[in-house]
């Protein structure tokens, strides 16, 4: 134990950088607003995470128990509920902290160039990004749900602040400011809906387990001691949190709007932090989620549907960042689909005691997590690439671009690599994980009463793979090939070094990271059950068998063929112009085209709902408050003032009158008191 003991430093270093940069950034670093300190802090965290992971994988704890945890009492709730603080290192948290810190570091380096024209505001930018990274790294190393929830919310806050980075005095004018302010609010409120659900889940777990430590909640003995229905309810509520954070159906609408922030922020949210937290949460909660196959089925259905639904909206969008945003939603859906399918098999395997099925299900877990990391690399690459394009052309509309390949060599090649990877072109990173997911979903269709659902989901997923390849290459061809349009003619050319070097580094990973699957990576990331206990990692299986599985499976070739067809179509439509896209959409008049541009009318639905349920009810309450409640208070006081005058006329000076008034008053009082006694006695 050398480095693992210092795991708490991993989130703490960026947190300290946040404070220093936030208060003094412009003082010690006038040119970059403290940017270098933020980069250095995240870099140290990144190195530390690698060292911790290396130590963990070589330690006996990895083989024996699967995790290293340390817990201190933070404070105690009365009734024996301990709230702890500490760290928890296992394969999942190692993976999360490595890729999150590494990609964040690259994004920060890129920001030096991208945000160079922001002047004094850079201080705020770098401070908030450092806090964002703190949130993600803290989430990864937390040892209990409450601590995890705190970092979860810190990320929500940072996404709010960064999406709204330009929510006042936007460089592009007032409308853009309004837009950013409203997008930031929407992001926070929609994810808050999920957070509240997650919080409710935590109440249930805390009450049932008397603790929120992972070591307690994920313990098979303590799970067995808790009411099964409560666990199912808690799992669903916790998944509600993941739906909000990872923008799954129906809480997906905030993510496309969140494009109002700087592109680097989008890259951060989509690749390294924020939306990955939801996937992490589901992966982390496998031991309780797999208590019921229904929960896992629900996860898979939400994921599979979102993958398809979001991909449709990317098909005809003209904004380069929005296309990428929808693709993120879609890819996140894939991850949930994989986790759900794998978990479904594990859950059924646990019910029937079928260990082979559990082992087969753990492949879904590997696929989901691998896709999460692959996606982090290629999506960071794509967003930073699109940022480079926007930086150079000054527009986000792809219709104003075109033919940029000659002016921006590095950007176009790296983005091509990213697009090939996300499209699932053979041997690129995305190919391996996506194919593993498809295979796993089809496999899950063989088991349980709800197996047919997975067949449907598989069909959706295959169609989605086709659509993904199509819209990604539509984007690439529209931007880099074809005729030049006005903005690309006036572009500044290639971006500075600080921006292109991160692109090159990322493209190496976006191409090659999938190969780790064959070097035992799946065993590092696997999940298995030993002696009734869930364990992450430790299954020694090599990985070469995947190669055989992939290439003996006929469906793999079908998917590859679909991907190639989609790329071919996109090339003909947007580079060569041989096929006119208008043929398919009735010149933009068909109902489907409109539905897609209007995002299936989801934003309108949300606006209406929140307006009616929020402001509408509020107006009603305000009316009641000022007219009925306050009205009766004022009415009463007026009545008292008025009757005062009346009563003054009763000052007759006649003792008989007074006496009868006193007696009358006493009678009234007596009746009132008796009535009160009867009422209270019956209470």
């Amino acid at each position: 134990m050398m480095f693992i003991e210092y795991t708490w430093l991993v989130p703490l270093i960026p947190a300290i950088c946040f404070l220093i940069v936030g208060f003094f950034g412009n003082m010690f670093d006038k040119r970059h607003g403290g940017g270098f300190l933020a980069i250095a802090g995240v870099a140290v965290s990144c190195v530390l995470s690698v060292l911790i992971s290396a130590e963990f994988f070589m330690s006996s704890a990895y083989v024996d128990v699967g995790y290293v945890a340390k817990s201190f009492t933070w404070f105690a709730f009365p009734g024996g509920f301990d709230i702890n603080i500490g760290y928890y290192v296992d394969t999942l948290s190692c993976l999360m902290m490595m890729f999150a810190s590494f990609i964040s570091m690259l994004i920060l380096i890129y920001s030096l160039g991208y945000m160079s024209e922001e002047g004094k505001r850079k201080q705020r930018y770098f401070a908030e990004v450092a806090l964002f990274v703190t949130g993600m790294l803290g989430l990864a190393v937390s040892n209990n749900f409450l601590m995890m929830f705190i970092f979860w919310e810190v990320m929500g806050l940072c996404s709010y602040l960064l999406i709204g980075f330009w929510s006042f005095s936007h460089p592009e004018g007032d409308d853009a400011s309004d837009n950013a302010a409203s997008a930031a609010k929407k992001a926070f409120l929609v994810t808050r809906l999920g957070d509240v659900s997650l919080m409710a889940g935590l109440f249930i777990l805390l009450f049932a387990f008397k603790s929120l430590d992972y070591t307690v909640v994920f313990d098979a003995a303590s799970i067995a001691a808790v009411d099964h229905n409560l666990i199912v309810l808690a799992s669903l509520l916790i998944f509600g949190g993941a739906i909000g954070k990872s923008a799954q159906f129906p809480l997906l609408d905030w993510l496309p709007d969140a494009m109002a922030g700087p592109t680097t922020v989008s890259a951060l949210i989509h690749a390294a932090t924020m939306v990955k937290a939801g996937v992490y949460l589901v992966a982390r909660c496998f031991p309780i989620f797999t208590e019921a196959s229904g929960v896992m089925l629900f996860v898979a259905v939400i994921g599979g549907f979102t993958a398809f639904f979001a991909a449709t909206m990317a098909m005809n969008n003209m904004n380069i960042k929005k296309v990428l945003a929808y693709s993120t939603l879609s890819q996140l859906g894939y991850m949930f689909l994989a986790l759900g399918a794998g978990g479904y098999m594990i859950a059924i395997g646990m019910e029937s005691g079928n260990t082979a099925l559990i082992a087969a299900g753990s492949v879904g877990y590997v696929a989901g997590c691998l896709h999460m990391v692959n996606h982090a690399f290629f999506k960071a690459l794509l967003f930073l690439g699109s940022g480079s394009v926007i930086h150079s052309t000054g527009t986000e509309d792809m219709r104003e671009m075109g033919g940029l390949e000659s002016k921006m060599k590095v950007t176009s090649i790296t983005m091509l690599i990213g697009s090939l990877s996300i499209a699932g072109f053979p041997f690129f990173a995305g190919f391996w994980s996506k194919d593993l997911i498809l295979e796993q979903v089809l496999h899950a269709g063989d088991y349980g009463a709800a197996g047919w659902v997975f067949i449907v989901l598989w069909l959706l997923a295959v169609v989605t793979a086709f659509m993904t390849a199509f819209y990604m290459f539509r984007m690439w061809y529209m931007t880099f090939r074809g005729p030049m349009h006005k903005k690309s003619e006036h572009s500044h050319g290639e971006s500075p070094r600080s921006m292109t070097i991160p692109l090159m580094v990322l493209s190496v990973f976006a191409f090659g990271f999938g190969f780790v699957l064959f070097f035992g990576f799946d065993s590092l990331l696997s999940i298995q059950i030993i002696g009734g206990q869930f364990r992450m990692g430790g299954m020694e299986s090599g990985g070469a068998h995947y190669l055989v599985e992939f290439f003996t499976n006929v469906w793999t070739y079908v998917t590859i063929a679909l991907v190639l067809l989609a790329i071919y179509l996109a090339k003909n439509m947007y580079e060569l112009g041989k096929i006119d896209p208008a043929r398919f959409n009735g010149d933009g008049e068909s109902w489907l085209y409109k539905a897609l541009t209007e995002r299936w009318w989801f934003p309108q639905l949300y606006d209406q709902l929140s307006w009616k349920l929020g402001y509408g009810v509020a107006r009603g309450v305000e009316f009641i408050d000022s007219n009925i409640i306050d009205g009766s208070v004022n009415g009463l006081s007026n009545a008292v003032a008025g009757s005062g005058e009346l009563v003054s006329k009763a000052q007759t000076g006649d003792v008989n009158n007074y006496a009868s008034a006193v007696i009358g008053g006493l009678i009234v009082l007596f009746v009132a008191v008796v009535a009160l006694f009867v009422f209270m006695g019956g209470l």
Binding site: W74, F75, F77, P78, G79, F81, F149, I150, E153, V154, L157, Y160, G164, S167, F168, S169, D174, D175, S177, D178, A180, A181, S182, A184, K185, F188, L189, R192, L193, V196, S197, M199, A200, F203, I204, L206, F207, S610, G614, Y615, V617, A618, R619, G620, V621, E622, D625, I629, D630, V633, S637, L676, F677, M680, G681, L683
Partner: protein
């Protein structure tokens, strides 16, 4: 926490020092009035030091004081002071806020000597309420708080100040009369025909013989008195008016410590003395609290005045306090007390920022503002911090209050098989985030407003040093107690566990 040497008459000093300060500043007329603020700062700083010293010492019981005041054949009233885990945080909060608002009120050019004298007089009353251990003293101090606040609103308030001041005075005064009847009832019932001793201890000792019906009735009277002060829907309408019209310093004290008198009274009197009454009123308290939480949150959404919105948010958050109390469980009461403290810290920042809006922009109407973060970034940062703290961002103090109370309520809801009741609490969390973010979006973000006159626009300034220091101190407290809630919880928990032992 520490074994500190005992300071004799410490509790009396906590009342006497502000009193001397109030008298001193009051007579600083003419030329000397420009020193009134510094005098107030000096006296409140000394009080704060003593309060912190008291809070950090180990044995609160050792500080109790008792001097017989009126001792006749039938009545016994004493000057008794005591402090325990329930009151110490409120004492600290009062002392802290008085210093902070004195620092904050930088530009009081109109009769500053009266202004600061009233502030210090309020501290006298507040300290008295939280330290009193005798019902008679308690009631006197309760009324002492009322009077300076009345003058504060009607002399230094906004355009509708006379209406608001009168409404505040009559409404709360009527309530305190009802409370007085309740006090008489429990004191004489406890005396059972003997000498009516007004001390807390004597009433508590006599309360063992109270019948269930009597407890319910007395609880009702006292609860009404305290509920108006808290305030609880539907007795809350004095609050928005009083807040809107009061000067910033007055609003801060009103929301941060004066409202707590109500919840303090419910715990101190209703729960301690009338536990059976509390049990029979439990269902009503729960319903009222849930209504207040959701109703207050919805009312906030409809407000256009920043200060009025924050005033309604107090209704919602004090409903949270009542909900914790209504659980009648250790967790519930403990976090209700914590929430009182948390709300005091947070609401001070809220009222300082929202009050400043009038100084900076000449209006607090949200529709007239917009995009002002560009002009006043530091101000906007403080506002954002306050709003985030109030909407319960984890890591800040407000989160623990809400988390604990809702968890306590979950426990209660589970025990009566109505787990769905927590949906109302969760709804309020969502609404709270909604109205705050919507308000800051409309006032600070988006396009720069064009609805303010050029004259106002040209003289917009960011906050000055004094205001920055005052709000900075409060923000620091919010963060410290948020990261280390045990600092307050460890003080509360002996009290709350002893109290629940009785119920």
């Amino acid at each position: 926490m520490f074994d500190l040497p005992e300071i004799p008459y410490l509790l009396t000093l906590l009342i006497a020092i502000p009193l001397i300060g109030a008298i001193t500043t009051l007579f600083m007329g003419g030329e000397k009035q420009k020193h009134a603020r510094m005098t107030s700062i000096a006296f409140s700083a000394v009080t704060l030091v003593l309060a912190v010293y008291l809070m950090l010492s180990n044995d609160y019981g050792a500080y109790a004081e008792s001097h017989t005041w009126i001792d006749t054949a039938g009545l016994k009233m004493s000057y008794m002071l005591a402090v325990d885990g329930l009151s110490i945080l409120m004492v600290f909060l009062t002392a802290l806020l008085l210093l902070v608002v004195s620092v904050f009120t930088f530009e009081q050019h109109d009769k500053p000597n009266y202004f600061f004298a009233l502030l210090l007089a309020m501290e006298v009353g507040l300290m008295g309420v939280y330290l009193a251990a005798d019902y008679f003293l308690f009631y006197i101090m309760w009324e002492v708080v009322l009077i300076p606040m009345y003058f504060m609103i009607s002399w230094f308030g906004g355009p509708r100040r006379h209406y608001a001041a009168i409404k505040f005075f009559i409404y709360t005064h009527v309530a305190s009369l009802v409370m007085l009847i309740g006090i008489f009832a429990i004191v004489f019932q406890a005396a059972a025909g003997g000498v009516a001793d007004f001390s807390f201890a004597a009433v508590l000792a006599g309360s063992a013989a109270f019948s269930g019906v009597f407890q319910s009735l007395a609880f009702g009277l006292l609860f009404f008195g305290f509920a108006v002060k808290m305030p609880i829907v539907p007795f809350h309408t004095w609050l928005p008016d009083a807040h809107t019209e009061a000067p910033t310093a007055g609003s801060v004290l009103l929301a941060a410590v004066m409202l707590k008198m109500g919840s303090y009274g419910i715990i101190r009197v209703c729960l301690e003395v009338l536990p059976d009454g509390a049990v029979s009123w439990q269902a009503i308290m729960v319903v009222v609290a849930l209504v207040a939480i959701v109703y207050g949150a919805y009312a906030c959404i409809a407000q256009n005045d920043l200060k009025k919105m924050v005033a309604f948010s107090s209704v919602s958050h004090m409903g949270m306090v009542l909900l914790g109390i209504a659980c009648l469980s250790e967790i519930g009461v403990m976090f209700a007390i914590f929430q009182m403290f948390a709300h005091g810290l947070i609401t001070a920042v809220l009222f300082m920022t929202c009050g400043l809006a009038h100084d900076l922009y000449d209006t607090r109407e949200i529709p007239l503002l917009g995009g002002l973060a560009a002009k006043t970034p530091i101000y906007a940062t403080f506002m954002m911090f306050g709003f985030l703290a109030s909407l319960g961002l984890p890591g800040l103090v407000g989160f623990w209050g809400e988390f604990g109370v809702i968890f306590g309520f979950y426990e209660y809801a589970l025990s009566i098989n109505m787990i769905w009741l927590i949906v109302f609490c969760l709804l309020s969390l969502l609404l709270t985030a909604g109205y705050y973010l919507w308000a800051i979006q409309r006032s600070m973000f988006g396009r720069l407003t064009t609805k303010l006159s050029d004259k106002v626009m040209s003289r917009i300034r960011d906050i000055n040093k004094a205001e920055g220091i005052a709000m900075g101190i409060m923000c620091l407290m919010i963060a410290v107690f948020g990261l280390w809630p045990d600092l307050a919880l460890s003080i509360i928990s002996p009290y709350s566990s002893a109290l629940i032992g009785v119920i």
